[in-house]
């Protein structure tokens, strides 16, 4: 086990799989140079220009070409640089990638991994900070992966690269420097199984992606105040570990969902609704969601700080829920 950064964990997982499977290749802007974050560092030297394809700024075709190449049997990694640019390829993603298998009655196998580093990132303002993962849970055909640790990033990426489904892989870009232990040989981590980050009986906190470290920190602070939180890091949003969440809430009676995304229309609403549908209202004492207000991400640090979820807000929300 080596202690490495999250971005390096992603790099090693990709490397391992590309060495194993010659049909895997990468297309995206600046990937020959190693990618914007170094996640493909050294790949051009090892795999050459046919498998590390540095592309024009042509997002529609980056996405659509990835799909076409999958339809003839290769396994492209579609690198979107950062999430926000996938807006330039939304027809290709939602109308084509997500639907071809179904529309064509099972003939198509759109085995692509679409990497989209997402979320708030050092005062990058509204067009470079979005977290819209909930959108894609609403689109049949897609798998949605939202890791938060180096080990999970590596293991989930391996699974993604062996999947026959189109996988949206949301790299938590703000956590790229985060370090953690990752095994030399990276085993796949199945989709749909939450990581039980902390155990407790007082309330259930469900969370994912870049905000997880702060939720874990908050849980520590809550423990010091006598509140024992059960923390589930979902790791994937479709499929998602409904069983683990329902079991936890059945035990604690209280559910707090924390995500970096805007609360309104976020996946927190889905989780709350589903848990209540499954458990009924009698077994559940209180629910709450914590996310950003329905406001674009502003540039200035005090404005960004005012809106974004952080440890203190998680603590406050949990304490309020315990009173509720």
């Amino acid at each position: 086990m080596a202690e490495i950064t999250l971005v390096e964990a992603a790099r090693r997982a990709t490397l391992q799989e590309m060495r194993r499977d010659p049909s895997i290749w990468v297309l995206g802007e600046d990937v020959a140079r190693g990618g914007l974050f170094g996640q493909y560092r050294g790949f051009l030297e090892e795999f050459g220009e046919s498998r590390i394809v540095s592309t024009p700024i042509s997002e529609s075709v980056i996405m659509g070409a990835g799909l076409g190449a999958a339809l003839v049997g290769t396994r492209p990694i579609i690198e979107m640089r950062i999430f926000d640019f996938v807006m330039c390829a939304m027809d290709e993603l939602v109308n084509q990638v997500a639907k071809v298998r179904y529309m064509f009655g099972g003939q198509a196998r759109p085995a692509v991994v679409i990497r989209m580093p997402h979320g708030i990132w050092r005062n990058s303002a509204a067009q470079h900070s979005q977290t819209l993962e909930s959108w894609f849970t609403h689109i049949p055909g897609l798998v949605v992966v939202v890791p938060s640790t180096p080990a999970d990033t590596a293991g989930l990426l391996v699974t993604a690269l062996r999947s026959n489904d189109p996988v949206l892989f949301f790299d938590p870009k703000n956590l790229f420097p985060l370090t953690g232990e990752v095994p030399e040989i990276i085993a796949p981590i199945p989709f749909g199984q939450a990581r039980h980050a902390r155990r407790g009986d007082d309330l259930t906190i469900v969370t994912w992606s870049a905000i997880v470290p702060q939720v874990e920190e908050a849980a520590g602070m809550l423990a010091a105040r006598g509140i024992a939180a059960d923390v589930l890091d979902l790791r994937t949003l479709w499929p998602w570990d409904e069983a683990a969440v329902v079991a936890s809430v059945a035990r604690t009676g209280r559910l707090l969902v924390v995500h970096e995304a805007v609360t309104t229309g976020g996946f927190g609403g889905e989780i709350v609704a589903r848990v209540i549908e499954r458990l009924g209202t009698a077994q559940v004492k209180a629910v709450a969601r914590l996310g950003q207000p329905r406001v674009p991400v502003p540039f200035a640090p005090p404005l960004e700080d005012a809106l974004k979820v952080d440890t203190a807000k998680v603590v406050a929300a949990a304490e309020a829920l315990m009173r509720g």
Binding site: L67, T74, M103, G105, P140, W238
Partner: protein
Amino acid sequence: MTKTGDNRARLIALYTMMCRIRAFEETALAAHKAGEIPGPLHVSVGQEAVAAGLCLNLRPDDRITSNHRGHGHALAKGAGVAGMMEELFGRAGGHCRGKGGSMHIADFSVGMLGANGVVAGGIPIAVGAAQGLKLLGSDAIVACFFGDGAINRGPFLEGLNWAALYRLPVLFVCEDNGVAAFTATASVTAGPGVAARAASLGVPTVAVDGNDAAAVDAAAARLVGEIRAGSGPQLLHATTYRLTGHTSTDPAAWRRAADVEAAQAAEPVSRLRDRLLSEGVTAAELDGIRGEAFAEMSAARAEALSAPWPDPAVAWEDVQDCGAMQGAD
């Protein structure tokens, strides 16, 4: 066989395919009018020479992508008629099990990677298929069919630039029928046209009378050969005319009678028939081909009409492997 015989056989093959496409389209139109086919229907009556002439030059392992007006492309590439007709009818035996319908016809078994309900939607897919084939070491090529309306969408620029850049084996085929839905494309297209656009993106163009099947065949033969030999992408600009409305319910009433009349005179099936007659093929033989095509499609229609509907349970299948059934309770 002599060269002339070869040539005649080829023309007859073209004629046969064109009759089959025409018959398929007219049969589908009639079925749609009779309420047998649900949803929208875009037929390619008048444009048969492009599909037939082009696809005659493709190998089974070559691929095509298509657009919303894709029946002819699919048939010419070898898609089974029963599967196509059943797909239009939404029946269980359709190529897409009734999930796609006319606008999403696909038959991967013959290299037909799908029609597309989004204008220009097939361009990025074609380019990527070619890149994938190249990576796999195949010498198969990809033909990408789109209409003149598609050249005003961004993916046209992105896709042609991309194909030229990586020297991909793609034959872009612009079926220029002069109209996009209800708008004359000349009225919304600035500059000198598709060939200039393609050239500016590094893709050379060959122009052809898209109603002259033999000319399309000859141009395609050359282009497919060159592309397979590594020329990089090229574009075939085929001028043609859509004899029917945009959809089956559009009477295309806004067109000038003179234009329609001229178009009828230039329509590709009778043109090829005239040529074959002048080359000594008998009317009886040609009538036979045509009759057989219509009989084939009538039979397919009748079979489709009595074919079983898909089991409703099929609706849940083929969404995705992982997470498909979550929430299905």
